[in-house]
Amino acid sequence: MSEFLYLYRLPADSPNMPDSARNMQERLQKWTAWFKELEARGHLRTMGHPLESGGTVVGEGGRTVHDGPYAESKDIVLGYSVVQARDLAEARAAAGGCPILGYGGMVEVRPIRQM
């Protein structure tokens, strides 16, 4: 078993805010169901955390590089989780059901280096 990091990304300019009570209700239900399924299949190591959209990037000497929370990307990182899977293909497949894909987002799947 290998470990992978899921980064939940949304393009900064995407209209990602749920705009109605029904959308919010559905979104929460889908995320909850998805995490449950990851857990049921033995993939979920840690659910991780949601991230605020603010933050800063610090460089050498404590100098502020950016006011935005990201070094390069124009994406907002909504949160992260750690999962386990046999290989990248399996981790990739498990990410395919993530609700963020339904509203313009992406899941970045990164193998965690084991040494």
């Binding site: 705009d19 009570a21 029904r22 979104r27 929460l28 991780g48 955390h49 949601p50 949160g79």
Partner: protein, 421 residues
């Protein structure tokens, strides 16, 4: 943290509650800011709760978060000094009694949400905009969803809403409603409540509404009678079931009895409102032991009366379906095709679906399939799509076998076109 999800109306209810409460705290001129704060708070709650689970007391969590969000939005406006009084009021609001500024109001208006509802029904705001406003502010519907419910374009709905909100936030009278306003706006509020119910939701504050005697008997009767049928509307698989096929033993007998009682007491008055008629139609359905034994003639007459009071292509559609039951599918089709203003139904899946049902019953499965496919393209949710797929499959089955056995007769109607105009 609890693992369980809030019930299915949670966000709708909370959205109305929070907008009303923040608007009272901030003043109606900050309506837009209150709305922003609430939307951002609820959206953030979805993200946080997805990862951490729903807190023990989600309403309290949201109240605190929305208030904090409003404070930071006010600060961000950079004119902090000008808004200082509001910030102080918000910061002090925790645990503070909220009755003081409203003590002079009639008891019914002391509830934030009801007060918001009556404010939305300001006489300067056009009636269709009042209802849209209530649904937007108190029930968390998006402009897009409202456009669908009211059969108008999204752009038209956005314009209607923004005009009405501008008007509302300019009235400054949100909390200066008097007993006279209460009386004059009650009709508009009734209508709004009725539409809230008709959309399939409970409205913003059903308990308070009943408790405060807002719902007159006819409206309550309508709610009870329609609600009695709810348990049977969806089958075990979650698919929609037409009225004719519903298991009538699953209708709620207690609610039906209550509805009839209310209808009877409401009929003592002199005025016959559209709610009386809607309730009478619901009562006729509720009293029929089966679809075949329903007094369809009576239902057609009630729809005729309703059309005179409130001409609408959706009411006409319901009437045509009842005619098909009473006089046969060909007559029903004639009635459907002669509805004035059918272009207003062009985005409404129940119109082609009704054409499809009646064509099928006339033994023309190919025509029926064409209409069902058109309806399928307009369907707005998985339940509708599944239902229509089953009907298309039935047409295809009849086309391949060359027969049309009446075992498949889905009789009618309800595919219940919603009675939202």
């Amino acid at each position: 943290m609890t693992a369980s999800l809030p019930d299915e109306d949670f966000f709708r209810r909370e959205s109305g509650r929070l907008v009303s409460t923040l608007t009272r705290m901030l003043g109606v001129h900050h309506l837009a800011l209150a709305e922003d704060a609430v939307q951002e708070t609820l959206a953030a709650a979805v993200e946080v709760w997805a990862f951490r689970g729903v807190p023990e007391n989600p309403s309290a969590w949201l109240t605190t978060a929305a208030r904090n969000r409003a404070v930071s939005l006010l600060r961000r406006e950079r004119t902090a000094r000008r808004f200082a009084p509001e910030i102080v009021r918000l910061a002090d609001a925790e645990g503070a009694p909220t009755e003081s500024p409203v003590a002079h109001l009639p008891p019914a208006l002391r509830d934030d949400e009801l007060r918001m509802m009556f404010s939305c029904c300001h006489p300067d705001i056009p009636e269709d905009a009042q209802v849209a406003l209530v649904l937007s502010l108190l029930s968390g519907f998006s402009a897009h969803e409202l456009a669908e419910a009211f059969l108008v374009s999204r752009a038209a709905m956005e314009k209607r809403l923004s005009r009405a909100k501008k008007m509302l936030s300019g009235t400054r009278g949100l909390f200066e409603l008097g007993a006279r306003d209460f009386e004059t706006r009650l009709v508009a509020v009734h209508r709004a409540l009725y539409l809230l119910f008709n959309e399939g939701y409970h409205g913003a504050s059903p308990d308070a509404a009943v408790r405060l005697d807002l719902c007159r008997e006819a409206l309550a009767a309508l709610m009870a009678l329609d609600a009695a049928r709810l348990p049977a509307r969806v089958d075990e698989a979650g698919d929609l079931t037409e009225l004719s096929r519903q298991d009538r033993s699953r209708w709620d007998g207690r609610l039906i009895a209550r509805g009839l009682e209310l209808l009877e007491s409401s009929a003592r008055g002199e005025v016959v409102s559209e709610y009386h008629l809607e309730a009478a139609i619901a009562a006729t359905h509720a009293l029929a032991p089966s679809a075949e034994k329903t007094s369809w003639g009576e239902i057609v007459e009630l729809y005729d009366a309703l059309l005179r009071l409130r001409p609408s292509p959706v009411v006409a559609l319901n009437r045509a379906v009842a005619i098909a039951e009473q006089l046969g599918p060909e007559r029903g089709l004639e009635a459907l095709r002669s509805i004035p203003g059918t272009e207003r139904l062009s985005a409404y899946p129940f119109y082609p679906a009704a054409l499809g049902e009646l064509e099928l019953r006339c033994g023309r499965p190919a025509d029926a399939r064409r209409h069902f496919r058109a309806a399928h393209r307009l369907a707005r949710n998985p339940a509708e799509r599944t239902f229509l797929e089953r009907r298309i499959a039935e047409c295809e089955r009849q086309l391949s076998s060359g027969s049309s056995p009446d075992a498949t007769r889905p009789s009618s109607s309800k595919l219940s076109p919603r009675r939202t105009r």
